[in-house]
Symmetry: none
Subunit: 228 residues, 4 copies
DNA sequence: TATGAATGAGATTTCATTCAT
DNA sequence: TATGAATGAAATCTCATTCAT
């Protein structure tokens, strides 16, 4: 009389199966991120991604709703990781310079390394409003965190006064641009690059506090049009 | 009115026509650059450019062979100007820090300002090999010039030793990224931005000459895969 | 438990299995009909049908050869029932008006009610020739039966003379269109609707026998291009 | 010195050109309507429409934004014409039976004849919300107009009491279904068909006022889910 | 029997480019 | 020189169907 065999094993998502499927999704995200990094988001075609992930173009849509969703997940994961790193830095008790160095290292790690979803981030313009908005918010939050870090360093006297908004953007630009020239088979490891950039970018903040008439240390305000 | 009134004075060869034609080409280049900057190269359509230049899509092809050529001229002009600026700096007798500041200011000026051909530059990947190669060469030459400037500063004792390749790329990244967040109707003028970025980016080079074991001051070599 | 316990009792040939399988087929047909009715044949996807029938898309193909076959069985059952109803009416001894009312009621019942296979019927165009032809034949036969009923009423003097082909199509159109506006959760029951439509549609046939010069009471001929 | 040659003749729409383009749009609408009628809206492909209109698929998009827009214009024109006919009938001083006959004739004329945009109308479900809503409103308005006509006939004693909503739907169903069986090369002209249907459908309303317990002559209310 | 995954054909749509005038 | 119109290739996406297990 066991007619209704709803014994939880014939629904499309038993535990083992869902795990396998989830693994495939991550593989695909990694592949997509590789293609995005390699060709740029706009030039990356679904065909390219499918080929990189070793499946047919149509089959991509079994796992993701479309290019938008693929790009969104890539970006979202990356920004989430960066936000975590920024928060961890903020909570630490090290000198602010070290906090900032940690954020820089994390940024490059997440941007350049072969993690699932890691994209030369923030090519967001092609996304539909629904998906773009939350990413922009997170991105702005991250930029604010970097600005706050710089402001904290100034307040503590570790850094010289400066236009925190401008400098934060300079730092983020230097970091984001790295994905344009970095080659995985190059001479320098990501760690070495991170070390070098952190040294240079932090050194520009420190030094003997010298009066700067243009300095703007006002509390950071979100500038939504900005691009990290 | 009676100038050059030969039989066929409006064939593409006559002097006046050539002059008018050349002027129209520049207008179109300016329009194209605006669209490239506004939407990104990949998202910019020939229709958009035609509309911005106030002519029909078909007519664009009378002046330019295609999108590639338009993009090429935009980029080429920009890089030429930057190379000039770099050369002028090199030839100057000012302190190296000032030379570098001048290059930075010129870079932002040519990148952000409303000049014909100025594009949020270096979206070169979509170009065919023929057109891409010379641009890459010029771009590398420019990057080398910046590295050489830094190396000169180090040799003269003005700058602390550092990995010149890495730092040059950091600087260029910070500058190029500016076209992503700069808004013509924003609060800061291009000059103010240039001033602020130059201050920060040069300050990271100077400072008390401190021994840096990782420093790499080997003579600059072109790395063709790199992207300025 | 020990019924038919031969060696291989779950091979598709055993009696019990065949019975179970047949039941499953009917469930699926009902589900398919629901989806066809709800979304229209063209918009109904195999995935939708599978979900409605609570099995996987792939498994549908164990029971049916494809969408064509599903649609064919739905339509075929419905038309068969209607033909039966038309035959039963013809064989009855009631007044022709009542015979026609019975056919109308049956038509709506089979079209709107939750019977297996009942589809907002006659979206046949997408079927392959092999399957379409027999359906068209049955459909034409049904249309002929309705025309014959009207003609009988005229011959007996119950109905006024009229163009039987045209009127039959008007009646069938009014009935078939009902599946477009009928909502199962609406105010009127199918029976009430059937009653109301039967009243109206039959009343248009009866009335004082008035001479109609355009009347066409020629023996009904099948018009194969017609759609009931 | 006539530099700014904005003499209104080089903009994409000079009078002559716009007229030519507009003519092409109408041709395409007619072609689309033919295909919609022939194959049903869902089965009609842009390829089919393009072929019928004798241009390449891509070129369709020079004239219309997509399938939705094509369908919308077809439907919209048709419903507009029908609404006009209904209004004209309402305003007339003829007997209500004649008013209704005029509406019926117009309906068939606009549905079956080779007018630009005339579609076997009201396959609206595939349209996006933006375009669907206004059509549904117009459609409901038309249905209300027919119901009002019937109610007026009842009030004046011309028609027997009946469920106006149900009867209006029966009439519209009979009319709409005609596009399924009508063949332009058939024996009967559209006028003849219209005459025959009008006769039958109106005759069912008239007759000696006979008490009908189910009668519903309440003022017509819009039933938005309904489908004319 | 049943499933998740895969596929290939085809649909709509976009767009740089060309053509006739 | 300039235009509206046309085209063909490619992009994204859908979906009935099949396959391995």
């Amino acid at each position: 009389m066991v007619q209704n065999s709803n014994s939880s094993s014939n629904k499309p998502g038993s535990a083992r199966v869902r795990r396998k499927s989830e693994a495939r999704r991550l593989e695909i995200l990694r592949a997509a991120a590789r293609v995005f990094r390699r060709s740029g988001v706009a030039a990356a075609g679904m065909r390219d991604i499918a080929e990189e992930a070793d499946l047919s173009p149509g089959n991509l849509y079994y796992y993701f709703a479309g290019k938008d969703e693929l790009l969104f997940f890539c970006q979202d994961q990356t920004v989430d990781r960066m936000l975590e790193a920024a928060e961890a830095a903020r909570a630490s008790t090290l000198p602010v310079a070290d906090q900032l160095r940690a954020v820089i290292r994390a940024h490059l790690h997440y941007t350049l390394e072969e993690l699932e979803g890691a994209t030369a981030h923030l090519e967001i313009d092609m996304l539909a409003e629904d998906l773009r908005r939350p990413l922009i918010e997170k991105r702005d939050k991250y930029e604010q965190a970097v600005r706050a870090l710089i402001a904290k360093g100034i307040k503590r006297g570790e850094f010289a006064p400066c236009d925190t908004a401008l400098v934060a953007r300079a730092i983020l630009g230097a970091l984001n641009w790295a994905s344009r020239w970095y080659r995985p088979d190059g001479k320098q490891s990501v760690s070495a690059i991170a070390q070098g950039l952190a040294d240079y970018l932090v050194r520009g903040l420190a030094g003997p506090p010298k009066a700067n008439p243009n300095a703007n240390t006002a509390p950071a305000r979100a500038i939504s049009g900005g691009q990290t």
